[in-house]
Symmetry: C2
Subunit: 504 residues, 2 copies
């Protein structure tokens, strides 16, 4: 391949990125500002655009360019940047090419129908209603794994879509050890005599004042409002990026609960700081793309939990929050407040879980997914299996499937292999943060003074700016000097919660 062809490939890629960026704007507008009746035609516009992008990507012209580039890559003819671009585009291209058009279409239609059925089934707490759909989805995802191919475990072919290169065998081991720590640790917490009063967090918080406070927090931790927005959303909060100079976050407000919007904003801002920190120079290539969902989640969860639920963070923000909402917090000490936002209570619902129990929710889903895909369990047995694990890990009974196996959207949308990235994010985040503490002088002191730029710059330099240059696996090793480990997270949880719950 001559240099001209590579340039041509990059031009075509840039065009594809612009079109995808346009689709993202359409999605953002749809969720945040579109009037009610605009939905039907918007869906068609998005479908039209997506079809266009897909056709361009799998066109013979594009195919010729990427195949020739792949040859150069294999022959070692490309520099590091170009090698990254070609490797990552090839990954996506070859995956897309392995799936027959009819298969992709059938799966997309199935997912779309299943999501609606799942919503209805959850409302009616009727797993049987959802069962035939989930059976079909699992069957098709197993077929997808075969079509895509894998080395050892078919689940890896699905995982690869969300966490490229990750292997379920390694994850299983890491998660197993984590579970072995968490289950007894949770028992200890449950037996602790420390009683935390979470009611100190409840009150009356006018939405407009919450919006202002949320914006101030996001800005302070480094979210650039000249390269982004914070908007209100009714449904599930999200972050969306059009390019590093236009990254938008959303949060939702509850009049009685300020901390829920603040935690969400910090979480989404964590995602956004990653996106705003990607290379502007390389926009339109994988060099300006996030690595994986796990690494993304490591950023959001580091800011939300490791930083945003630390004593140091609130040493800085609590006095400011008290000033804005004096009637709510004037009688609550920083210590009581810190304990309240970190209260541990085993619960049935993943999205409401605390830092300690959250990963048990994820691990049980990972275990189930893996066995569904390798065929060792059947979809019809899911409620029983689910409820058994909840009993085993949390000691809780599941009163109905809406509070159990039907609670999450993911499976109905075909997102099998997505869940483990949440816990991988937590593990990465603790490992990265431990390294940051080593390398940044007095990091926690700086945080307590509101100096968040030290941490942000460290993340920018060590993680954000590289885009997809390294795999998640390699990045962790490059940044921290060792492979992904569960020990940093376990240490972090042990230290933090032993103190809070006064454990031995």
């Amino acid at each position: 391949m001559n240099q001209n062809n590579l340039e041509k490939l990059k031009e075509e890629l840039l065009e594809l990125y612009h079109l995808s960026s346009a689709v993202s704007v359409l999605h953002w507008d749809e969720t945040v500002y579109m009037p009610k009746k605009g939905g039907e035609l918007r869906a068609k516009t998005i479908a039209e655009m997506s079809g266009l992008i897909h056709n361009k990507f799998v066109s013979p012209g594009f195919g010729k360019l990427i195949k020739s580039a792949k040859k150069d890559l294999d022959e070692g003819k490309l520099n590091d940047n170009d090698a990254c671009i070609v490797r990552e585009v090839w990954r996506e291209y070859s995956r897309e090419k392995k799936l027959p058009v009819e298969f992709v279409k059938e799966l997309a239609e199935l997912e779309s129908r299943s999501e609606a059925v799942w919503a209805e089934a959850r409302k009616k707490t009727d797993f049987k209603m959802f069962l035939p759909y989930l059976e079909k989805i699992v069957a098709m995802k197993r077929r997808e794994a075969e079509l895509v191919g894998y080395e050892k475990n078919p689940y890896d072919a699905l995982l690869d879509l969300f966490e490229p290169n990750a292997k379920s065998e390694e994850i299983s081991l890491i998660f197993f050890e984590l579970k072995e720590f968490l289950v007894p640790f949770l028992q200890k917490i449950k037996k602790s005599k420390v009683r935390i009063n979470e009611k100190v967090l409840r009150g009356d918080f006018p939405i407009e004042k919450q919006v202002e406070f949320n914006k101030a927090v996001a800005k302070k931790i480094g979210f650039d409002f000249e390269s982004g927005r914070l908007d209100t959303v009714i449904g599930h909060p999200f972050t969306i990026h059009f390019h590093p100079n236009d990254v938008r976050i959303t949060t939702r407000y509850n009049k009685k609960d300020l901390l829920s919007s603040v935690a969400t904003t910090i979480h989404e801002a964590g995602h956004a700081l990653y996106e705003q920190g990607l290379s502007k120079e390389h926009f339109g290539t994988p060099l300006s793309e996030s690595i994986s969902l796990g690494i993304h989640e490591s950023q959001s969860r580091m800011w939300e939990n490791v930083v945003g639920k630390s004593r140091e963070f609130w040493k800085y923000f609590y006095p400011r929050m008290k000033k804005e909402f004096p009637s709510q917090f004037s009688k609550t000490s920083l210590e009581d407040f810190h304990r309240a936002i970190n209260a541990v209570k085993p619960s049935l619902i993943r999205v409401e879980a605390d830092e300690v129990t959250y990963n048990l929710h994820v691990i049980m889903r990972f275990e189930i997914e893996k066995e569904l895909i390798d065929g060792s369990i059947e979809v019809k047995d899911l409620p029983k299996i689910w409820n058994g694990k909840i009993k085993e890990y949390f000691g809780l009974d599941v009163p109905n499937d809406a509070l159990g196996v039907l609670q999450d959207l993911h499976w109905s949308g075909g997102m099998i292999g997505y869940f483990p990235t949440y816990t991988l994010g937590n593990l990465y985040s603790a490992q990265f943060y431990a390294k940051a503490k080593e390398e940044i002088l007095n990091l926690e002191k700086e945080i307590s003074l509101g100096h968040f730029e030290h941490l942000l710059n460290w993340l920018r330099k060590n993680i954000h700016i590289h885009g997809k240059m390294f795999s998640a696996e390699d990045l962790v090793e490059k940044v921290t000097g060792e492979k992904l480990s569960n020990q940093y997270f376990i240490e972090y949880i042990k230290n933090k919660y032993s103190e809070i719950y006064n454990l031995d």
Copy 2:
């Protein structure tokens, strides 16, 4: 052409409409919500999308379909709806095909640079700075007229882009008569002993309360907020449509002046009511498109002026406005308020002009444009010519070119042939409204009771729903039984302002 080919043409058209709709969303977001630094890449995304749309439109495949359809049209083989679709698409297609790609590109670049130079020249009140650019634009627009072709007057080829089928010869006559009425009528007003106190409109109007009031007014006259939004804009207010179920209007607020935002909202809502009233069934074809800028402006100006500055309109809204802003209006009678919003004062700036003087601003631009294009005047003489007309029509002296020939953006953007549509809109609106009064029982009484649906339904049925089925010329005749006339507008102005200014 077999039916299949026609269906294929419609499918391709629908795709093009979806893509254009996506570009409009990008534009809307850019103007209303995009963060500051997002601009550079947004411009590229829009350019990318626009290029895609253009390439699709002029592709050999599309060309074959439209040429074959045109043959069927010429042979009388199409039903009315299909005939309209093919006629209108052919109009656009053949115009686009007549302009060489290099010419279009050169003009687009020239316009883009000229707009920036114009803004700078206006700021510095330096016409000479703008002169070479405007000379090139006029030269290129003259060339465009030659490339596009025309029957009698090269100006018609430019006019056709904004007001299809309009002929400058006819417009000249209509405008000339109008001017012959307006200039002496303005003199009479100036000599009137009636003194209007416009200060009653000034006060302190908190923006949030203005927003609420504007929304209430837009909703009351029929703007469907489930099919649209009202947002705040910093620059020039506008209406944008994605399809009839998603039409968005913008307005701007001045803390000291409530009526300016209200007038703008009513104007933009007038445009939006037209767009919301277009056929949903035929979306994606010219049957669901507005006819011309003149007809569009007839809707916005009818609501803004004929309705929105009438005594009847404010009989309904004034008590409500008083209630919302009691400290401002409690001492002002409806009569004094009505006079204040209709005060006539010759001014240098078109966008600030009242109903009486507004058309003189437009007519002088039309006269100048026509002579620039037929070559009877030169660009370098524009300031002198401009200032002479201002003296002749308004009796005013122009202190500098920023308040004179440099005031409007249009020419810098190559929009020659656009201005006359403003006055055509006023003429259409008066003629339509006169007919509506004949056909709707007690129309003005109904308006004073807040019953706007009678007028809206009449406009929907007689104008909006037809899309481009009829030309502006034919529609006027179909709806009012006669050709476009200036007499309705002249009567309207004479009656309204003779009463306000107590003329004989």
